[in-house]
Amino acid sequence: MSVLVGSDTRLLVQGLGSAGRFHTDKAIAYGTNVVAGVHPGKGGSSLRFEGETDHSGVPGRDDRYDVEVPMFETVREAVARTGANASVVYVPPFAAADAILEAADAGLELVVAITEGIPVQDMVIVKRALQCGGTRLIGPNCPGVITPHACKIGIMPGYIHEGGRIGVVSRSGTLTYEAVKQLSDVGLGQTTAIGIGGDPVNGTNFVDVLKLFAADESTEGVIMIGEIGGTAEEDAAAWIAEHLGKPVAGFIAGTTAPPGKRMGHAGAIVSGGLGTADAKIAALEGAGVVVASTPSDMGSAMVEAMRRASAA
């Protein structure tokens, strides 16, 4: 089937400023079931979304959509009234950590934080707090999560996705789109594509997602896209070698990045000799992962990984 999100996802949107409204509209056009919004000062009102259906999304819908989304002051109230089971956070950076904590407090199983620029120490506290409960956080600073033709949470362009056999996990937004499009072009498609985000402290790491894909029967292979900074890719390589009985392709960005410089993402930095692309590529190849030499080769690397697995 898929992991994390699907046709049973009932989505709540936190933060309906211009970006939140824009992407909520695209999600509804795709066919995502958006059941509630939370925005301080807007409780009791509702937001109307209407337009032309994006037929690359959930099949069998009319050519136009017209949806009224009720707004609430608090997440707890929104969940109680609508049965929302997942949240997406578009709240600005200074208040985003609080929004995540509020979603966790309301008992939501899944929180997807799109916001870029949350202070690291805020995320240190959020991560500590989430260790006490049952909420899974994806992100922050990520494109979101999509299960093709079922549910789109986040800011990715929906139409490049095709339902299929490959799980996608990535620290980078645009490189996820590259991988997804190539998987669609070579006919492998995706089960679910998950952006775990480019920040140094995030809610879900590569290993967490690999475990989900390992347990998902419809996911036949995985492509993981990493970048310089930290050791999450090395940890993933160790887990793949030990546990994952499925073919994996990969790509690591930042071979040419100078040490000590933050490459756009807050987490993309080589410091103290740690987190280099070369070390990550070596670790993945050591675990049997087919690592693409350029992003244009990600699709063919996945095909190669599948070929090797079936030949073995």
Partner: protein, 407 residues
């Protein structure tokens, strides 16, 4: 954001973290005026004159204009000659150091101009230790690292004698607990007053990191004085840019003269830009894609001139600014625009590029690869502009074409 040593020490002193007394000077007269009060308060006639630049290795660094002068100088003339002798030596040093170019292992061969000195009290050093607070990404928590090998680069210690690095992970709900600080003090061989002062120092430093949103604090060396005091003899500090909104006092400490002017201009337009040494300019959306574009250029035999992520919410105006910043670099022999539109629309990029060329002209080859949201519209805008643009089918194709065209 980085700050100077004297600024870091002022912030630490304000929060109860022990540092030697010192005064900042921008002229030789100011440097000389600092000497007597420091000697009178410190009980030692020794002072230290330290260059204030955003780079390490100052002690071993030398000035381009005065090869015999180091970046940091201990002035002992006062021991025999009294305060007047110390003042004379400080004047001589300050006149050579201020306005001169200091080259250290971290500045690159071009060095950095020293605009400020920090004149500091001499300290009777019994031992030199190392202390830092960094983010441990594996646990998502701050980590206090300590070592007996003060004065040495920590990377060197980690490579040669990793057992000499002590670590305590800080639970954000608790802070650095007393037992953790005591464990570190014991590991560092501190006893008596030094142990008590060490524990207080470490707890205050851990609190500082969490409350002030630092992304790095490095105290190297942390010194134990002959009197049992524990204080920061040096202080390197970086702050999380995303948290500066809640620390206006820290944001004010930004020294723009220490930063690359093109990177500063780019950040004013919401662009993430890093200058590199190569000849292929890159304009890309998304940090991962921007890095991968540089890697691909290198792989097909070129060298990237920059990292540039226009971000997801860029306007035509931002894109125009980005294009201008790239073309201003005289090393640039070709430009590669690589876009996978998600939130970013291809037509916005196309309009920005066309507008920039209209304003500043185009003297080098330009390869454009557009994919994603509104790709057809973007391509039509480029075609209709009559610009001499080479289209690329994918990223590798584009990289190969621009490297070839720029030869």
């Amino acid at each position: 954001m980085k700050i100077h040593e004297y600024q870091a020490k002022r912030l630490m002193a304000q929060r109860g973290i022990a540092v030697p007394a010192g005064r900042v000077a921008t002229t030789p007269d100011e440097a000389v005026a600092a000497v007597r009060p420091l000697i009178e308060a410190g009980g030692t006639p020794v002072v230290v004159v330290k260059s204030q630049i955003h780079a390490g290795g100052r002690g071993k660094g030398r000035f381009v204009e005065h090869g015999e002068v180091a970046g940091v100088n201990v002035v002992t003339d006062g021991l025999a000659g009294g305060p007047a002798a110390a003042e004379a030596k400080v004047r001589e040093l300050a006149e050579k150091m201020l306005g001169s170019t200091l080259v250290t292992v971290q500045t690159g061969p071009e060095g950095k101009t020293v605009q400020r000195l920090y004149v500091e009290q001499g300290v009777r050093i019994a031992r030199e230790l190392y202390l830092s607070v960094v983010l441990d990404r594996a646990t998502g928590r701050n980590l206090l690292m300590a070592s007996t090998e003060g004065g040495t680069e920590i990377e060197e210690v980690a490579a040669e004698t990793p057992e000499k690095i002590l670590r305590e992970t800080i639970d954000p709900a608790v802070g650095l607990a007393d037992y953790q600080a005591r464990r570190l003090a014991l590991g560092l061989g501190l006893s008596g007053d030094a142990a008590k002062n060490g524990v207080a120092f470490m707890k205050a430093l851990a609190r500082f990191a969490a409350e002030m949103d630092t992304d790095l604090i490095e105290i190297n060396p942390l010194v134990v004085t002959e009197e049992g005091g524990v204080m920061a003899l040096d202080g390197k500090m970086g702050f999380d840019d995303n948290a500066l909104f809640r620390h206006p006092d820290v944001a004010e400490l930004r020294d723009e003269s220490e930063e690359d002017p093109a990177e500063l201009e780019a950040s004013a337009y919401g662009l993430s830009f890093i200058k590199l040494e190569g000849s292929i300019g890159c304009l890309v959306n998304g940090a991962g894609l921007a890095m991968a574009t540089m890697d691909t250029i290198k792989q097909v035999g070129g060298e990237p001139a920059n990292f540039l992520d226009v971000g997801g919410g860029a306007t035509t105006e931002n894109v125009t600014a980005a294009f201008k910043i790239i073309t201003r670099d005289p090393n640039v022999k070709g430009i590669f625009v690589n876009i996978f539109g998600g939130i970013m629309k291809c037509d916005t990029i196309a309009e920005g590029v066309v507008e920039a060329v209209k304003q500043v002209g185009l003297e080098v080859p330009l390869v454009v690869r557009l994919e994603g949201t509104n790709v057809e519209l973007g391509k039509r805008i480029i075609d209709a502009s009559g610009l001499d643009v080479v289209n690329a089918s994918d990223m590798k194709d584009g990289a190969a074409k621009i490297v070839e065209a720029a030869r």
